[in-house]
């Protein structure tokens, strides 16, 4: 491999690698980058839930009862939980990107810290939101 060293007279200079999935070893920052895009796409279609809820509320008690029934099922709860996580993760990931836009937090250790903070923050915030929602619903009866 010595002939591949930068500036070697006998071999090609080692060039920067293209940031490609098959070339770069997966790292936390790039995983969270694609997760930001995935949560964004999930929220894109997830807004249909909000539209269904609002249109049903505007339509009348029967339509609204259907939404309430669906949200009460296991699948409905899971979708709503996923929506909550996607929203909070995308929000914290967005704040991380806004910090990077100001050219702060770009050092390796800072990047990792911001990335881990996004992950830990979004998971804990999701759990807090659901705990508050659970208590708002009346808590344990």
């Amino acid at each position: 491999m010595s002939e591949l060293k930068a500036g070697s007279a006998t071999g090609p200079r080692s060039r920067p690698l293209s940031p490609h999935l098959q070339i770069y070893r997966p790292m936390l920052t790039m995983t969270m980058s694609i997760v930001h895009r995935i949560t964004g796409a999930a929220l894109y279609f997830g807004i249909l839930l909000l539209a269904w809820w609002l249109v049903a509320a505007a339509s009348g008690p029967n339509a609204y009862a259907n939404v309430e029934w669906f949200m009460g099922t296991l699948i409905g709860r899971a979708v709503l939980f996923g929506y909550t996580f996607a929203l909070l993760h995308h929000m914290l990931g967005g704040i991380r990107h806004l910090i990077w836009d100001t050219l702060h937090g770009m050092e390796p250790a800072e990047r990792e810290l911001l990335t881990i903070a996004t992950l830990v923050g979004s998971i804990s915030l999701t759990l807090v939101v659901w705990l508050v929602g659970y208590l708002a619903m009346g808590g344990p009866r």
């Binding site: 929220l43 894109y44 807004i47 009348g60 609204y64 508050v132 619903m137």
Partner: protein, 132 residues
């Protein structure tokens, strides 16, 4: 060349530089950040509103969602999110769809979807606000 004046000394590169794949320069980049910042308080407000409405009767939900402050915040969330997700999906499409036919078809579908879902939400909120 389209729009080329006889004495125009600017090169083709000068006229297109910075316009990017969507032919709209850095406008979308900047607007995505503006709507991102606005989305932070609005998303928190949405979560608070939804939690406050959990388990309430339809009549109570209608009354709260239709009250001016809640309705205005919900409308802001909807309009801001619609624009933000329109730019975001456009960026995803431009990254992955390279065939012109499918690219412009999916860009068009993106616009239709965002306007339809945004208008549905906004109409519902306005109907709740103005009664009828």
């Amino acid at each position: 060349m389209i729009g080329q004046q006889p004495n125009d000394m600017r090169t083709a590169a000068r006229r297109v530089r910075g316009l990017g794949a969507a032919r709209a320069g850095t406008r979308d980049f900047w607007h995505q950040r503006v709507t991102a910042v606005a989305g932070i308080p609005l998303s928190i407000a949405l979560i608070v509103i939804v939690i406050a409405l959990l388990g309430r009767s339809h009549a109570a939900v209608v009354q709260i969602l239709g009250s001016p402050l809640v309705a205005i915040v919900m409308l802001l969330f909807i309009l801001n999110s619609a624009y933000h997700m329109w730019i975001g999906m456009q960026e995803i499409i431009l990254d992955y769809v390279h065939d012109d036919k499918y690219k412009f078809l999916s860009l068009m579908m993106n616009t239709f979807f965002v306007i339809a879902v945004g208008l549905a939400c906004a109409f519902a909120i306005l109907k709740l606000s103005f009664g009828v």
